[in-house]
Symmetry: C2
């Protein structure tokens, strides 16, 4: 499977204006090799150039990982002294004849640290942005990928259902977040979660990217839980919003609006429709309700091995949806310093429409 993926990459390199691409630890590297490396102070770089075996630069202490590669790679290992690292990178680019050539990079993933060493090894090269070629590789999910995502959704939903009865008034956001993580692992998530759950109550729920705090759940709070599981490196990313005891009527109202917006966003996804339409469908509902200025983010993002990847459901994105594309639909209304609501589902485009992987009830539920 990974060999077919590598062949796809080299085929698209041949029709691009790139002579090679370089990858550091992250989802694209894992996608192409099946091997896990960690991003750390010791750089790891895979060079891929059409017609040649890929070349890997890595620390000596990780040499055993070379045997885990599903195809032949030429490895250049370096020792612990950083002053010797550039030499390994020089050998790598020489082995592929890359100095002076066009070596594509992945700007969202590559650090200046990695780039500095690669450049020291091939100082005459150009380093154009290869995001388009690389993004294209992972954009359409095959059956095995969709099955893994489906499993990641099921694990996440089962874990939250198991957590809900444990929610109590006076519990802190952090306590609830820890309990949810425990349930995610018990229900079979990969030990490396895709992200740390967002558990935010009351005023914190009005911050879409809150980190769990020591604040205690109080009657009258809205409670936003944004969580996901990983299965076989594929992830889920869901959100539900709860009422802690009895809440203000306005909060029930905005919850209902977001629920309708989420339904409209889910319904808008089908092949050959621009991503912008999904955003518009969800946004129109909120704008027509008069809360438009409190929906402060795009409607969704692509999902697969990463929490945020192409395609993005943004008003300016005219990219057309195609079967196999996977993304979130996650409208929200955030009333600053008061309360917020978000409802998020995971969707896959099929041949004739869209398949919503998540089916946990979206109605407001009372907890605590």
């Amino acid at each position: 499977m990974t060999l077919a993926r590598l062949n796809n990459l080299t085929a698209s390199l041949q029709t691009s204006n790139l002579d090679a691409v370089i990858l550091n630890p992250g989802p694209t590297l894992t996608y192409l090799t099946g091997v896990q490396f960690h991003l750390m102070e010791r750089p790891v770089i895979l060079f891929v150039a059409p017609g040649q075996d890929p070349v890997l630069v890595l620390p000596e202490l990780e040499m055993l990982k070379v045997e885990m590669f599903p195809y032949k790679v030429q490895a250049f290992a370096y020792g612990e002294n950083p002053s010797e690292w550039d030499a390994a990178f020089r050998k790598a680019s020489q082995a592929l004849g890359l100095d002076g050539k066009r070596i594509g990079v992945e700007p969202r993933q590559l650090r200046l640290l990695d780039f500095g060493h690669v450049k020291a090894g091939a100082p005459e090269s150009e380093y154009p942005d290869a995001s388009e070629v690389l993004t294209g590789l992972r954009l359409k999910k095959d059956k095995a990928e969709v099955d893994a995502m489906r499993r990641a959704v099921k694990i996440a939903q089962d874990a939250l259902e198991a957590t809900i009865p444990l929610i109590k008034i006076g519990m802190t956001e952090r306590e609830l977040s820890s309990e949810l993580v425990i349930q995610l692992l018990k229900h079979g998530s990969d030990p490396e979660l895709p992200f740390s759950p967002i558990v935010s109550g009351g005023p914190n729920s009005a911050n879409p990217h809150a980190s769990p705090t020591e604040r205690k759940l109080q009657v009258g709070d809205l409670l936003v839980i944004d969580w996901g599981a990983a299965y076989d490196s594929y992830i889920s990313d869901l959100t539900r919003t709860f009422a802690v005891g009895e809440v203000d009527d306005e909060y029930k109202k905005i919850h209902k609006i977001v629920q309708e917006s989420n339904a409209a966003g889910r319904a808008a996804g089908k092949p050959r429709v621009p991503c912008a339409n999904v955003d518009k469908a969800a946004r129109d509902v909120i704008e027509q309700s008069g809360y438009g200025k409190y929906f402060t983010h795009r409607t969704g993002h692509g999902i697969g091995m990463e929490g945020h990847e192409d395609p993005y459901m943004r008003g300016d994105n005219m990219q057309l949806l195609e079967p196999g594309m996977a993304y979130t639909v996650e409208p929200g209304i955030y009333l600053p310093n008061r309360n917020g609501v978000r409802i998020e589902d995971n969707v896959i485009i099929t041949e004739d429409g869209a398949d919503v992987l998540s089916d946990m009830p979206r109605e407001i539920r009372v907890v605590g």
Copy 2:
């Protein structure tokens, strides 16, 4: 506290040849602000220039985080359309008068994505490596930091002790890893763990950076567990090696050698001694035993908010230890395709010696 840290940074900038530094989400940004941002496709950058309020560029949807800053910052927010982002970065560098100046970067943390936007906003600037200034900030831990690390060690040790009775022959590495994560959270680790535990048995234990697999524990395996907790953003990073049932005499022998090497490494740490001495003390024991070529990595790394930070315990590192420096001592012997041993502790340099934060038994223990 964070204001004092910011003042330290601006003071060291004034004696450096830098006009400013830029920080993206990561430990240095958290250290200086106390605010958590996630590294994602939307860049977040803090500009720090002496004599001026710091400037923050961030997505609009994160604007509420600006109120969480412990000092005044000037914020430039951008919307969801990436084509508008460079304009926010231009305003930020104009506000500080930075174009054409020397703006220091953190190459281990900054991505080409972040750097590209900063550069678009200040194209005439130079971007030297500011690692030395930034590393210096976090190098010596104060009492509150040491207390948090001590707590992170205690949580980790208690969690592993609670996990050991659950280890069974036939359990997979992944199952054991999940159980350990559950115990870490139950014992009070921050929900965001510093790293996913390494749980590697038999041949996998000979790979220092293994990821947990579906391999089942078997009698005769060595079992390496490398794990840590986080408390208040400060971490622990420990390793112990176990015997699954009865193991070969050679494995008991290498375990004993590594235990002696770890003790020698711990004993070598004190103020005004080069880091290289710690490495040499640990390495000499293994080399004299004839297993030198199987100790394939440095003896340790600094520890604090990150798993790997300065100072590094490497043979070529002549940096002198000073009170408040914190690091790991983690020698190992790895017999390729057979078994491996590592024993890792966390150490803080004091006024007159070193304080070892971890005290879990280091002797080989039989599990399963």
